[in-house]
């Protein structure tokens, strides 16, 4: 069994307008240290998968295990980077945001500060620690989110379309930075995206989801390309075409 195991996981939301099956029979196993991109069209249930692994939502069927232990509720072993920067604490400085998890655990102030400074530097924002989130750009805020999650030293990093709201240039820069950070830390990453190129640029494996409702895993494509990825190389194009063929029919069936 893998480091992370989702076994026949399903999620049905019940509301006033009736039941909605977001995810059906989702099975996936992740190895420690891999960068797994979950790719799918909007409404395919990929964010629901992440929310269940994070412990924000309970699955209605199946089970989720992390390193042999069942997941029940959120915990510090699973760091989350959200799509919006709404999750940052506006009243704290960038540095205090990064140190938040350490503060929760009662880490001494000096140590907390040193760790936060280290991760601030890792995400390329050395010297910007005294600023508040409102003084930072969208890309900088996502860097702070990444640093905040990493500073807490989770077993796995869950990223929910973290660059979805950024402009194309900033997104490409941050993808490069994330790839470098992952190579440095070798954290296990589950990265949700609907951006095909982003998935091929970052992942060691790509999981393509069927469209919703009742989204499930359609295929898993290994990406055996060296880092840093050259987006114009033949290998990149080959994987791109392969994944594109898989997602193509989901896109054109969805609307």
């Amino acid at each position: 069994m893998g480091f992370v195991a989702l076994d026949g996981v399903g999620k049905v939301f019940r509301g006033r307008t009736g039941a909605w099956e977001a995810v059906r029979d989702f099975t996936l196993s992740l190895d420690e240290g891999e960068f797994f991109c979950l790719l799918g069209t909007s409404g395919c249930g990929k964010t629901t998968v992440l929310n269940m692994l994070a412990g924000f939502e309970a699955p209605t069927s199946g089970r989720i295990m992390l390193d042999g232990r069942p997941v029940s509720g959120p915990g510090a072993d699973r760091g989350v980077v959200f799509q919006g920067h709404d999750s940052l604490y506006d009243w704290l400085t960038a540095l205090d945001n990064i140190a938040f998890g350490l503060r929760l655990r009662g880490t001494p102030k000096a140590e907390r500060r040193a760790t936060a400074e280290r991760f601030l530097k890792m995400v390329g924002l050395a010297g910007q620690g005294a600023k508040h989130p409102s003084e930072l750009s969208g890309g900088m805020k996502q860097r702070i989110q990444i640093a905040r999650a990493l500073a807490n030293d989770p077993r796995i990093l869950l990223m929910d379309e973290p660059f979805g709201a950024l402009d194309a240039m900033t997104r490409a820069v941050l993808q490069g930075e994330l790839s470098r950070i992952w190579a440095e830390t070798r954290k296990t990453v589950l990265f949700i995206t609907h951006d095909l190129e982003e998935a091929v640029a970052l992942a060691t494996r790509i999981g393509v989801m069927k469209r919703g409702p009742g989204g499930t895993l359609k295929a898993v494509v290994p990406v055996d390309l060296p880092f840093p990825r050259d987006r114009t190389s033949d290998g990149f194009m080959r994987v791109f075409r392969e994944v594109h063929a898989l997602i193509h029919e989901e896109i054109h069936g969805a609307h």
Partner: protein, 254 residues
């Protein structure tokens, strides 16, 4: 920064100067009655009242009541608002209270306040606290409800306990709402204190208004009115500065 502050102050000065000019023109050319004095006799009268320490006494009496009642009301309102915003059963139980009492204005409560507490300090402090508490409760509860879901989820996935989420996320995120509620409540407090002192008091700006009417001291009435306006203006500025200091930096919309 300095120039914009200078511009603000210049705007205040010019705005007030214009107000007094309009007042002067209205009294001299439009109304022309002893019942509507022009600014100068009013300022002269104010100076006399200040020299005799009478105006200061009235202002102090009113402001002391406002501050006492306001602080009492806020101290009661903030925890109740936090509880209503945080716990659904508390909200279901107490929301009828707030929705009921906020439609009974403090002015209407003057009668029972005087019957219960007499015309001493207690009745006024009670009325100010009453008028403060519901505004603060409602805006505090709304603030707790408006804390972003991802802020709480982020804390959970960093290992925060329920208590830590409350103290380190929900509470600081609510501070701007609490301060805004207190600012609105302060404006209500001014309305209430004058009404209460008009009806039942031995001193304060409301009593000053009432006495001046009895003895037809028209200038005294205007001195009291201007004092109220200036005091309210100054208090509201202080609140705006507080909100900026605590919240403006992270919430540019306020």
């Amino acid at each position: 920064m300095l120039t914009s502050r200078a511009a603000t102050i210049a705007g205040y000065v010019a705005g007030f100067a214009l107000l007094f000019l309009v007042w002067h023109l209205a009294s001299v050319f439009l109304v022309r009655s002893v019942l509507f004095p022009s600014p100068w006799p009013v300022f002269e009268r104010a100076w006399v009242l200040i020299e005799d320490s009478i105006l200061q006494e009235q202002i102090l009496a009113s402001m002391r009541r406002i501050l006492q009642g306001f602080l009492l009301g806020s101290l009661i309102g903030i925890p109740i608002g936090l509880a209503i915003g945080s716990f659904r059963p508390v909200r279901l139980l107490l929301e009828p209270w707030t929705e009921f009492f906020r439609f009974i204005p403090a002015v209407a409560m003057i009668t029972v306040a005087v019957i219960w507490f007499g015309i001493g300090e207690e009745s006024k402090v009670f009325l100010i606290a009453y008028t403060t508490v519901f505004v603060v409760i409602i805006s505090t509860a709304a603030g707790v409800g408006a804390v972003g879901r991802d802020k709480i989820r982020a804390a959970q996935s960093m290992g925060a306990s329920q208590l830590q989420i409350f103290a380190l996320v929900a509470l600081p995120a609510t501070v701007p709402y609490i301060l805004t509620g207190m600012r609105v409540a302060m404006a209500n407090a001014f309305v209430t204190i004058v009404a209460a002192e008009l009806v039942a008091s031995n001193d304060g700006l409301g009593k000053m208004l009432w006495d001046a009417r009895l003895f037809m001291q028209i200038e005294d009435i205007f001195v009291a009115l201007i004092s109220l306006g200036l005091l309210g203006f100054a208090t509201d500025r202080v609140f705006r500065l507080l909100i900026r200091a605590f919240a403006g930096r992270f919430n540019p919309t306020m």
